[in-house]
């Protein structure tokens, strides 16, 4: 499913989702009965203080975690109880992740980093390179394709990470503190880029942040505290 194919409303439905951990035999309630919906093509900021459960929510939406309770539907598909292989396929085809620490392979060059998701979907190498080059061009780094992450600035690394999130043409991008390690200019560049992607490709984007200033780029903001929506 690609962003272009999105239709229907809502695109994401989170119903009564709870997530409990046990840390040193003590229960931790990361999320408590969280419920909201997201319309296709929305750019949403999820805000809250550290430890409020924002990242847990993103991980559940990205199929990296299974909620202890409740139901999550993305693009009409219940992702709450996927098998490991189904969850991997879901992440590969539907979701693009952007992390605060970029999570680029230091020994891969930019194009190899961007092409990584395509490797796990079995795309042949020439096609992969072409699509990775397109994605890099889309984020304005077409000329830096052979550079390793150590040769790029923070902002550029995050743009490579965004290109990696885009390369499989997902319908959902989950960005966890994408500007947490960037200065003001780079933050602006990244948020403008995400906004352009959202507008141009109608990709639904959820940005986790505690930076209030980023809310101006979002259609709306979801606030979360102590695992509950406020």
């Amino acid at each position: 499913m690609t962003g272009d194919e999105l239709s229907g409303d809502p695109f994401i439905r989170v119903d009564d989702v709870a997530m409990d951990y046990r840390v040193a035999n003590a229960p931790v309630h990361a999320l408590r009965r969280v419920a909201f919906t997201v319309t296709a093509g929305e750019l949403i900021c999820i805000m809250g203080p550290s430890g409020s459960g924002k990242t847990t929510l993103i991980h559940i939406l990205g199929g990296l975690l299974t909620p202890t309770q409740g139901r999550v539907v993305v693009g009409g598909r219940d992702i709450s109880h996927l098998t490991d292989n189904e969850a991997s396929a879901y992440r590969n085809s539907t979701v693009g992740f952007v992390f605060q620490l970029f999570q680029l392979m230091p020994y891969y060059d930019a194009i190899e980093n961007v092409a990584l998701p395509l490797i796990f979907s079995g795309v042949p190498a020439p096609v992969r390179r072409e699509r990775a080059r397109e994605a890099l061009t889309a984020v304005g780094l077409g000329h830096r394709h052979s550079h390793k992450s150590g040769e790029l600035s923070g902002g550029e690394m995050q743009r490579v990470a965004i290109a990696r999130a885009l390369v499989n043409r997902p319908c959902l991008i989950l960005a966890d503190e994408p500007t947490g390690n960037l200065d003001r200019d780079a933050t602006r560049t990244i948020m403008v880029l995400l906004k352009q992607i959202n507008t141009g490709s109608r990709v639904t984007i959820l940005v986790v942040t505690h930076n209030e200033a980023l809310s101006e780029y979002a259609h709306r903001t979801i606030r979360i505290e102590s695992g509950e929506l406020v």
């Binding site: 990205g62 991997s88 992440r91 999570q103 990584l116 998701p117």
Partner: protein, 498 residues
Amino acid sequence: MIRRSDLLWIASKKLLVRKRWVLFTVFSLSLGLVIFTASVGLIEGIRAAALTALDQASRSFYADLTVEPKQERPRSSRPSGSVVALIHNASQTGQRLSADDEKKLERVDGVDAVWSETQVEPVKLGLPLETYHSMDRLTAAPESLIRRIAAPNVPWPARGVVPLVMSRAHLRSQFDETAKRFKVRPDFSDARYLGRTIDLWIGFNQSQNRDFRYDYSEGQPGFRRTTEKERDDEQVSSYRNWRSRFDLNIFRRALRLKAQIVGLSDLKVLVPLPFARDARRWIALRNRLAQKARGQPSGGESSGDAVSKLLVAVREPAAIPAVVGRIEKLGYRVHSRQSLIQEEIDKAATAFKTVKAIFYGIGLTIFALSCLLVWTTTSKVVADSRREIGVFRAVGATRRDILSIFILQATLLGTAGALLGVLLGVGLAAGISTAVLRWASQQRLDPDDAIPATLWSVDLTTTLLIVAGAILASVLAGLIPARRAARMDPVTALTQRE
């Protein structure tokens, strides 16, 4: 679904980042295999060379059978083949064979001649010999055996001329001035020497060829021609040594005879038994006279005719098995050429088995340690790759993909180590073989000495099994860390800080 080529790319890319670890693991893994491959190659090669040498040595057996008194193997004897056991058994041997035994054997149907091993020394042969070997010994054989060995086109010598079977090896040598070693004379042919009449000095105690010397002291040890002065010095030294033992004029008392080369054999110079006995009596008499002239007490007579073994010539070679059976029925132990060779082969096989087991043990130990190293390396790579595993899982890698990547890494380590080990092992075996053979060819005195072309061989099946075993062991060693990687929680892996 990840493609195989991409799997290989990801696995090798990560290994290339950990070059030092990888090289250390590969070299360690290969070390065990080097010992394995080299020892297997060399042992097999040396075994083949030993069999060739035994076969060559068997040609110097001039008797058809060797007969010994029958003895029970002592119960306390050690396993056959060990040097200690041979010495131990030899020390238990008290029985000897007498003239009665000789007569008894002569009466056995099919037996041509029976005699005890008899040698005549010192002697000198009037031939232009270039060999370094001393040619100072004649071996006695029944006349019938000498007639059997003799070339058919050479007439039997006239009365008064000793029929002699000459050692071919001693005639073929020629000193190569450039290579500083003996080589086969290019113009050598049997016909050149067959039928030739030569001088034969009985009791001539300066028969050793003094034209060549083997130098150990120089930078490159090898043969060289002796200088005039060295020859003179040696002559004087020899004269002094000899003078201290014998009468001053004994040198003049060598018995000069004529001999005719009637045939050529390997290694031994054969003369008829009656002549050999007469020659020995003459030498003994001369020695007694020499000692008497010096005022020394003469040595006692020999301690009688009892011998530890008798040699037997059989009339028809085809009848050898039947004759062996008949002699064994009389209560003797009989060895044919084949059974002697077989005994030597069995002894060699036992020794080779022991050596092989030792090398296998060393190789296996190193190999086991190397597998442990593969496990450690893969574990380290997994530990270092947590964030990478997290990212792979986030972008769609399945557990199976992660498992495959790390198992493939272990396989690559194993394959590289196995191939390197086998190549280095083969190279080491070839190198050792070349060095040993070069040394042996410099040391050998006779160009006919059995020096094989090579001392190593590669058994393809064994090599493939070694490589396959190494790879399999590496895969197994990498399986536990790979499973750990596959089961890693992606969220935990992603939040890992390096």
